[in-house]
Symmetry: C2
Subunit: 176 residues, 2 copies
């Protein structure tokens, strides 16, 4: 087989989320090459010198701080109700893909792969707003859910409260 064709097939044969990311990257590169206006693509600067605490906390530079495992915490809340829907982690790729596509994408620690929320159920989370905290190691993403966010079918993953009882604590279901 032609090496170019082989490379193309290798490029295509990957997880759906990775494929979406590649397509978007390709679309972006193509647009940049053609000089066309970029569509929904955002880049945050890769900083060569670290920010001071004051710059990090009060400045306007977006410099997400990933932990030792290359992750930060993302809290997704319903844009209309303000309810916390899901808490998960993002690596650099997941964050880029979220900002590029406008669909919340996490890094799945258990599956060790990019995971666009709703990729199998269709219940995607469309980004409306992204907030960052003081030290830039956590995000609050206000999003519009296309359906129940939790894989159990609940609106939010936080469908149980910790209740104190005589014999310790127990979980009690709440309406979400």
């Amino acid at each position: 087989m032609e090496p170019a064709l082989r490379a193309f097939f290798a490029w295509c044969c990957c997880e759906r989320a990775t494929f979406v990311a590649r397509i978007n990257r390709w679309r972006h590169d193509q647009q940049r090459w053609l000089g066309a206006p970029q569509y929904r693509f955002t880049e945050y600067p890769v900083l060569t010198t670290p920010l001071t605490s004051a710059e990090r906390e009060n400045g306007s530079t977006f410099a997400p701080k990933f932990d030792a495992d290359g992750l930060l915490t993302a809290v997704v809340v319903d844009d209309r109700t303000g309810e916390v829907l899901v808490v998960a982690h993002m690596n650099d790729d997941a964050l880029s893909q979220t900002l590029e596509t406008g669909h919340v994408t996490f890094w799945s620690r258990s599956r060790q792969r990019l995971w666009m929320k709703g990729e199998s159920s269709g219940n995607v989370l469309t980004v409306r707003d992204v907030l960052v905290d003081c030290d830039q190691d956590a995000l609050v993403i206000r999003a519009q859910p296309a359906g129940p966010t939790c894989h159990t079918g609940a609106t939010s993953c936080f469908y149980r409260r910790v209740e104190r009882g005589e014999s310790g604590v127990a979980l009690v279901k709440v309406k979400t």
Copy 2:
């Protein structure tokens, strides 16, 4: 010095948050010994056999799942407004202390110690409700803040939004 006295001094000489935890533990032990009713103390079972996925997701057993570093994510929201105030981590001790004292306590990864929110500023977060997610590795804590939650003086740590512009993204302050 008497060994007992030496041990007592060693017990007392520690960080304030650790001391509070020790005092609470002692108070609990004393109450248990005296047969008095327990006051604001809650215990969650230490499980010898792991839960199945179904038990973890649908059951009533509170079995918080700590990651490889012994941490879980805690999202604190304002009980009245629903606004996300702060996102941080808890280890087993921090979670126990939060449930015991009713004041949100984290594990500070940078300082490697227990950190009761508001321990220096007085702006404690009083727990009103604790929610757990499907796989029990994240908590949403509804709390009443005694003052601004962020150390910068902002009501919430999430006081900047990520805005898309011509030349990439930048952070813009928002009212919290």
